[in-house]
Amino acid sequence: MRIATLLPAMLFALALLALPVLGPFFGALFPEAAEPLYLRQGFVALAAKHGGLVIAALLPAAAIGIGLGVAATRPGAREVRVVADTLAGFAQAVPPVAVIAMAVPVVGFGAAPALLALVCYATLPVLRATVGALATVPPDVLDAARGAGMTPRQMLVQVELPLAAGPILAGVRVAAVLAVATAAVGAVAGANCLGTPIIAGLVNGNPAWVIQGALLTGLMAFAVDGLLAAFAPVSASPP
């Protein structure tokens, strides 16, 4: 792929490797911090857990978002559109941290409430992109497909989804970036991820840990964005 799309990923990898040896640097920056480097868990392990959380949320979110988007655009699916609109309205009104807080009494502490919130929020961009992309398929193309004798299913698989693939993938990309950022909030409920140093830093009054967690979360979001951008144009125009 183009080097520009890989650059953020390389930066992220570099930061993961470099941070553990930058203890003296953070010590100089924050002399009052007793432990200038977050050492309770390795950054690589935290990043892996963070990534796992994102993937575990993104796969169902993409499936639900595309599925719901397809269902909502079928003729006569008014109920599905109502559900989709409600979901969108809800997510706009309620911030992720509130969803996590509400989920804790139901699913307990740890990764589960974070996962729940992630799936909810990552579904939305995919859903919106799917509905929007399917609506842009030209009506005369649909008419031609129907007139050629395609069944509704053949129309969806052979014509509508291929033509909508580009914007849908862009929606997945937005969802992935959003998921990386939202996953950090999961640390509030005890999920192990790059948000953990941030929460620990806030609780212990250690700004160095906050910066380390925030830096890695941000770079990871950029890395994911770049990597998915490298995929998108290829899938947008299948043979």
Partner: protein, 310 residues
Amino acid sequence: MIRFEGVRKSFGAARALDGLDLAVPEGAFAVLLGGSGAGKSTALRMVNRLVEPDAGRVLLRGRDVAGEAAPALRRRVGYVIQGIGLFPHWTVARNIAAVPRLLGWDERRIAARVDELLVLLRLDPAIHRDRRPAELSGGQAQRVGVARALAADPDILLMDEPFGALDAVTRQALQQEMTRLHAATGKTILLVTHDVDEALALATRLAVMADGRLLQEGTPRALLEAPADPRVRDLLDGGAFGMRRLAVVTASSLAAPVTEAPATLPRIPTTATGREALEAMLAARADAVVLVDAAGVPSGVVALRDLLRA
């Protein structure tokens, strides 16, 4: 072959068809002519069940189309839609192969058929086969649209203003192509247009519609000679009634046998229309033209006054 019986259709408050009765004989090149909103597209789209009638029925060879599963019906009826509607993500070849693929033809048969159709529609397979629709001119795209409709060799071809968006020269070339195709294949063609000249140039049977009803049906000549309704006359007139009548007769039907063929007279092919004969006379400032066959042998003479018999 195609028969509409008391067909009615409303979209909400808008009445598109208000009791349409029409029979299209087997092998006809039938043209539905009418103003915007007359219900032409609605009628056409009922033949392959893209629109279902509220009342009445549409029969193909005596069988109600409602009795056949819509996808199966559509695969055996060719359809060229109003806006071409090529699949933009597929090559020209894949577009043309749409119906054969749905019918499960094997790849070799499909590839052969695609090339055959490209040649039939005068597109070089080597050049055009692997292009995307975005890389075609309007006329080429329209040809591909026609090729796609012909791909599975349907006996019936539905065409909804297929040449509407084209320049006059390309449109005329494609009209000639369609006349040739119709003569060569004997398919039953039902074509919708609101262009009178196009209708007269193509139709073997002409059906004029207004307000969701049939006003008159017959040969173009019969409608020009005896319009059954003032609206038919108005539609066919357009200030050129006489010229249009000339356009639907062949020059050879007005010709006298050749006694002498002065070299000073213009020459036109025997297949020319009366209108083309007049045009040739006006262009050459001559009062007669000589008809010549493909070999260049004179076969008749048409004089200016002969045109009055058209």
